[in-house]
Amino acid sequence: MNILCAGINHRTAHLEVRERFAVREDEMAGMLARLRQIEGVSGVVMLSTCNRVELYASGLCTLRALDGFRSILAERTGLEAPLYHHDTPQAVRHLFRVASGLDSMVIGETEILGQVKKAYSIANEAGAATRSLHKLFQHAFRVAKTVRTETQITSGPTSIGSVAVELAGKIFGSLEGRRVMILGAGEISERTARSLQSRGVRSVIVSNRTYERAASLAAEIGGMALHFDHWENAIVDVDILISSTNAPFALLTPERIAPLLKLRRGDPLFVIDLAVPRDADPAINELDGLFLYDIDSLEQIAAQSLDIRRQEVVRCESLIDHHVGGFLSWLKTAREPGIPK
C-alpha cells in the first residue's frame, strides 16, 4: 500500500493561483467521489485551505493517482496545476509536518490542525477514507499534539495585534469586561482594539482631536466617542490605553499619569503606544502598576516568538521522524480490505 500526497501551497503558488484551485466545503463530497474513481486509488482525503490544496490518496499506483488528480484539476479550472507530489514515506512526513504547523506560512500556527481534522472528517463522512488513511490521519493528529506539547513551536504571539492581546492577557487574565481607550483614531489602533475585542473586551472609548473622526470610529467598532479634552479623566476607569496620536510631543508623561494612577486603587494600566513620534514618555514605565509597550517593543516580541519557533523546528522534525518510522512499520504489515498486499 502506498500513500500519495500532491498539491499546491503558499510556497509553490501565489494567492491568485491557489484561489482558482480551492475546493469549497459544499463541493468536497463530489470532488472526493471523482477522485476515488481514478484507477488504482482506494481512498482519498482532500485538504483545501487558503494556503494549500492537497490530496492524500492511498492506493497501489501513485503515479496514476497523480495524473488523475492533475486531469481533474485541469478540467475544473482550465489551468495546469503546478503540483508538487510525494510518495511514501515523504507523503507521510509531509502530512505530519502540515498538521504540526511546520509547513504553514507562520510556523507553528495551530489553525491548520483544525482544518486537517475537518478535511479528514468530511472524507470519513463521504466514505472516502480507507483504513490506511484513517490510521495515517489519526497518527498525524497525535504527532501534532506531541509536537505542540513537547516543543515551543506554538510559543508566543507573532503579530502586533496578537502581541497586544497576549500582553493584556498576562496582565489581566481574562479580557472579558475590560475597558479600552483609543487615543488618536488611527488604523493600527483600530486593528489592535479589534484584536482585543475578539478576546472579550466589551467597552471601547475613542478619543480624537477631531471629534467626528472619533465618533465615526466608535460607531464602526461599537464603542463610545469622547472629546479629546476629557481623555485624562477617563484613564481612571480604563484598563488598556492604545495611543496613536500625531502629537509632536509626549502626551503621557509621569507628571500627568502618576496622579491618575493613584486614583486607580492599585489596578494595573496597560499602555500601548503605537505613535511615531511616541505619545508616551518611556519614563512612565517606571511607575508602579503601569506597563508601557511601544511599537518597537511589540515588534521585538513578535520577532522573538518567531525566532523561538524557528529554533524549535529541528526538535519538531526529530519527533516527526520518529513517528514516521512508527507509521511505516504499521503500514508494512497493514492490508487494505479487498486489496492485495
Partner: protein, 261 residues
C-alpha cells in the same frame, strides 16, 4: 522508620525540584504530572512521618523545630495539591517545590533537640498548633505566588520577556491567588489563637509578641489590599517578606520558648 519516612519525603521533593529544573532548562514549561505526583508522594511520606511521631509521643508532632518545619512544609505541599489543580495556576508547583524542599532539608539536618513541654496531650493545644501551621502553609504558598508575581511583573516591565513569561500566570490572577491565600491563612491563624485562648496555654512573652506581630502584619496587609492602598507589586512584596520574616523568626522563637512553656 521515622527517619526513612523523612528521607523518602525529602527525596520525593528533590525529584520534583530536580525534574522541574531539568524540564525548564530544556525549554519545556510543562513540568506536568511528574512534578505533581512527586509532590503528592512527598506529602504522603511526610504524613507518614508525622503520624509515626504522633504515635511515639502520644501528641501532635510539633514539639521540636524539625517536626515544626516538616509540619509547615507538609501544610504548604497539601495546600498546593488542593489549589494547584483547581485554580490551574501554571508553574506553581515548580515554584513551590524549592520552598518545601528547603524546609525539609533544614528539618533533616537539624538535630532533634529538646521537646517542648507545650504538647502534653490536650486537644485544644494541638488544634491551636496544627491550625497555626496550616495557616503558615497558606501564607507560605502566598509567598510563592508573590515571587511568581514579581517575576512575571519584572518580565512585563522589561519589555523583552524571556520564554518563561508565556507560561507564567497573569499578574492579576496571581494577585487574586495571594489575596485568597492570605485570607485563608488569616482565618486559620485567628481560629488557632481562639483555640489557644480556650486552652489557657502559657507561652513565653517572646512567642506571644511574635504571634501578635504576625497576626497584626497580615491584618494590616489584608486591610491595605481591601482599601486599594497597595499596587500589585507592593502587595506581592509584602506578602512574601512577611512570610519570610515569620519563617526566620519561627524556629528562633520556638527555640527560645523551649523550656519556658
Amino acid at each position: 522508620m521515622e527517619r526513612i519516612a523523612l528521607l523518602a519525603s525529602t527525596l520525593c521533593y528533590l525529584f520534583s525540584f530536580g525534574h522541574t529544573l531539568f524540564v525548564l532548562g530544556a525549554g519545556r514549561f510543562h513540568p506536568g504530572r511528574f512534578n505533581f505526583i512527586a509532590m503528592a508522594l512527598g506529602a504522603a511520606a511526610q504524613g507518614w512521618y508525622l503520624s509515626l511521631r504522633g504515635a511515639a509521643e502520644h501528641a501532635c508532632p510539633l514539639g521540636t523545630v524539625p517536626e515544626t518545619l516538616v509540619f509547615l512544609s507538609w501544610s504548604i505541599a497539601l495546600i498546593y495539591l488542593v489549589i494547584g489543580p483547581s485554580y490551574r495556576i501554571s508553574l506553581m508547583g515548580a515554584f513551590t517545590a524549592p520552598l518545601v524542599l528547603l524546609l525539609q532539608i533544614v528539618a533533616v539536618l537539624l538535630p532533634e533537640g529538646a521537646r517542648s513541654g507545650f504538647f502534653r496531650p490536650n486537644p485544644w493545644v494541638e488544634t491551636h498548633a496544627a491550625l497555626s501551621l496550616v495557616a503558615y502553609g497558606a501564607f507560605g504558598l502566598a509567598c510563592v505566588a508573590g515571587f511568581m508575581f514579581l517575576l512575571q511583573e519584572g518580565q512585563l516591565k522589561s519589555r523583552r520577556p524571556a520564554p518563561i513569561f508565556h507560561h507564567l500566570p497573569p499578574i492579576t490572577v496571581l494577585a487574586k491567588a495571594i489575596l485568597r491565600l492570605l485570607w485563608v491563612g488569616f482565618f486559620l491563624l485567628s481560629l488557632s489563637f481562639a483555640a489557644g485562648m480556650h486552652a489557657h496555654i502559657t507561652i513565653s512573652k517572646a512567642k506571644f509578641f511574635f504571634s501578635i506581630l504576625i497576626w497584626v502584619l497580615y491584618a494590616a496587609l489584608l486591610t491595605g489590599a481591601k482599601t486599594g492602598l497597595f499596587t500589585g507589586r507592593r502587595f506581592a512584596i509584602l506578602a512574601s517578606t512577611t512570610f519570610l520574616l515569620a519563617l526566620v523568626l519561627l524556629p528562633v522563637i520556638q527555640h527560645l520558648s523551649t523550656g519556658t512553656e
